[in-house]
Every structure is written in structure tokens, then in C-alpha cells.
Subunit: 132 residues, 4 copies
């Protein structure tokens, strides 16, 4: 489980004064990257240590209420599902304790072959341990 | 049904040289806005003609293959489901005829009350006719 | 004078692994908004208290060195020039104490006329005092 | 000289209903990339043919009037200054024939050394010929 926060900036909102929704996925991805980092990992570290990348295969979000600029977005991420070759990160975003959005990113564990193509592979237990 | 296209720009891609995925949702939303426009509508027109907005309640995407900068993204949008107060736009994105992503936006039909709050309302048949 | 910080996220960088430069302006603007906020102001507060907006008329940036994802960007903003109807915010961005970029935003002080048009106006001393 | 166009999308605008200004730089950069492409070049082609990259050293923009969503932005780019190791691309952006913004990108011509560092180099005449 991992928690972080973002400030919603002027440029994140649209003419209606609320978050332009693709930005929620930017925050999902950023949260995942920050989580990796606190585990001593990163996209580059995944590549050098495991030879792997974690491409997205399926994502989604539900919006419960509006969030506006200057709001602090509290984000909680957790991995509830570990597939053999895929894992899903679930996100909950709240402003002042009220959930404004939930979402998920389903990522594959992939290894680059000698010819450059990506192929799925089993997630190493070391990675699972780190991201608990 | 509506079709449009976008060129994937340098700034849309990440360090891995492929589209940074939140941008797919930017293209979904942009496609919806363009579709409105070809129907003589727009966010502002919806407000003035119907007193309505169409906030997102649920979105998702699946990624089948990579897309890179300078690729032309061919987008097809259609509404297969009309709920009473909600509708879902389905998107298919292809590069050179190969589907790289699919996704959807589920939007509510909402009216602004006198106190400023949004409340769901039945989608007018005029809107359904226009977006066929 | 005002200081803040941003974490450079994966999605902020391009294929070359460094910040996609338009994002620097996003950080400039976000810094200005945060500064307003710590002064008890905001875009909305400017409108309600002064009837004003602060549209950009001229902006620029110089890039001295690369910044990459997970870097913490330390931002320092100050207003060195107060024109009668314009002011300029200067920004310095550093990573680990090394300046990676400098830039500025020149903003006009504008009032919305009854017909909706914007016209320049003298910057009130109250605003200057708050943003010292 | 090169010309292209962009449609301003809903997500490109802010709460004031006008373009969030960092997006102008996204369009500058995208125009440069499209220009390269029409000359049979690209970031990758520059790297493989010349061993070079063209990092930004100095950018700027002036804003003359508002541009809103659904506006078509007509962009004209030209290179008026060729330095020995730097060049400047000037941009003019118009909506319905009225200039809304001008700007420039000053780029360096840089070669990657064997140790990975970038160093400035003379711009080859072949590149200048292609981008006339």
C-alpha cells in the first residue's frame, strides 16, 4: 500500500472549473512511479535489474464528485491482485477525506526479447515482495 | 457514428518512445467534442440549448499495441448504449488499420439546479437523434 | 519572493528521457497560482476582490541543463518589475542546487468591462503589497 | 517555411475558457516535428543520419488575443536565423486570419560524444537546405 498527494493546478482544470479527467490517469501513473521509487525501483531500475517493463493493458476510472484547482488530492494505491504475468494497481483519490475518484491500472510484466519484441513473463517474487 | 484522426506528436510520447497513456483519454474527449461540433453542438451549445452538461462517470481503455510519434491515429466513435440518464461512447483507435486501443466514456446527462448543484435528468430525444 | 517544488513525473518527459519543455511553463504557472494561494488569493479571489484577471502577454524560458523524471525541481519566483499595468514574475528552477532553467511570465492587470471585453488597468497597491 | 494547423480541444483550455498557455509551446514543438517530417526527417532520422539532437536553449511567446476551443489554429513556421551552431524557428499563430500569438524556439545542434555527453557542433549545410 502506498499513499501520496498532488495539488490540483490551474492548468489541470477545464472551462467548467473542474479537473480535465485525463489528468486523473496522469496522477495514477505518477503515483505508481513514486511508489516504485520508495521501493528503490524506477522504470530504469526495472529494466536494469529485471530486464522488464510494465506496459499498461487495461485501465479505468470512476468519478464520484468534482475536484477543483488548489484542492489537495490524497491518493492511496494498492495491489490487490497479482496474476502470474499481470498485476492490477487500485487507486482511491480523495479531497478533504471525500472520495472523488477511484481507478485502476492493469499492467503486464514483459521482457524484451533479443529481437526487441516484448513478451509476457512471470512476475518475479522479489518484485511482489517490494510492492507489498 | 463519427470518425476523426489525430497525429501523435513528440510530446505525447514517453521515454519508452510510445504514447503516454493518459493522452488516449485526451483523444477520446477531443473526439467527443469534435463529434458534437459536426452535429452543430458544443459544450456551450449544450448549456444554452438544453441547460445541460455531460460529466463523465466511468471511463476505461484497453491497449493492444504500441503507437509512436508521427503515427496517424484513426479514431472511430459510436454510441451503442443509450440509458435513460446516461450514455456511453465507444472508441476504437487504429494506426494503419491495426487497432492499438479501444475505450469508452460513460457520460451522465445533468442539469444545473437553481442552487448550482447538478442533478441527473432524462436525455432528450433531440440529442439522441443528433448523435446517431 | 516565493519558493515551491515539483517532482518531475514519468509523463513529463519525452523519448529523450528529459522534460518535454512546455511542462516548464506549466510549472511556472502552477508556481504563480501557489504563490497567490499563500497570499490568500487565487484566480477566483482576484476576480471577486478586484474584478480582475492577469492574462499573460509575454513569456520566455532558457534551458541550461537537462532534468529527468524523479528529479525534484526547486522553484524560486520573484517579481522584480512592477509596471503600472503589467508585472513580470521571474522563475529559477534548480535540481540539487544546479539551475536547469530560468524563465519569466509577464502578466497584464485587466478588468472586465460591462460588455465583457478586457481592458488594462492600474495594478492596485494592495496586490503589490501582498505579492512582495 | 512551413504551415500546418491544429484544432484547439476542450482539454487545451482553462477555467477562463481560453487556451492554457503552455499548450502554445506544445504546438510550436509539434509544428517543428511535422516540418522535419515533411522534409523526410524526424528526431530519430536526425540521430541516425547526422548523429545529432536539437535541444532547446531559449524559447518565448507573445500573446495578442484569446483563442478558444474548436478554433482552428493556423501555424506558420520559418527559420530566419541560422547561427553556426544554433538556429531559431519563428512561429505565427492565427485564428481566422487574426494573429493570436507569436513565438520562437532557439535550438542548438548537438552531437553525442562517446562518453554520452552532448556538445555543440556546426549545423551541416544539408540540414539547412532541407529546412529552407
Amino acid at each position: 500500500m502506498f499513499e501520496t498527494a498532488f495539488t490540483i493546478e490551474w492548468g489541470d482544470c477545464d472551462e467548467a472549473g473542474i479537473v480535465f479527467y485525463p489528468n486523473y490517469f496522469y496522477w495514477f501513473d505518477s503515483t505508481y512511479q513514486r511508489w516504485l521509487r520508495t521501493c528503490g525501483l524506477s522504470q530504469r531500475e526495472l529494466r536494469s535489474r529485471f530486464g522488464s517493463v510494465t506496459p499498461l493493458v487495461n485501465v479505468g476510472a470512476r468519478f464520484m464528485g468534482p475536484a477543483s484547482y488548489d484542492d489537495e488530492l490524497q491518493v492511496r494505491a494498492q495491489i490487490e491482485e497479482w496474476g502470474e504475468r499481470r498485476f492490477r494497481v487500485d487507486y482511491t483519490l480523495a479531497v478533504n477525506g471525500t472520495t472523488v475518484a477511484t481507478g485502476f491500472e492493469e499492467r503486464a510484466w514483459a521482457i524484451r526479447s533479443e529481437n526487441g519484441a516484448l513478451r509476457g513473463a512471470a512476475i518475479p517474487s522479489e518484485f511482489k515482495e517490494l510492492m507489498k
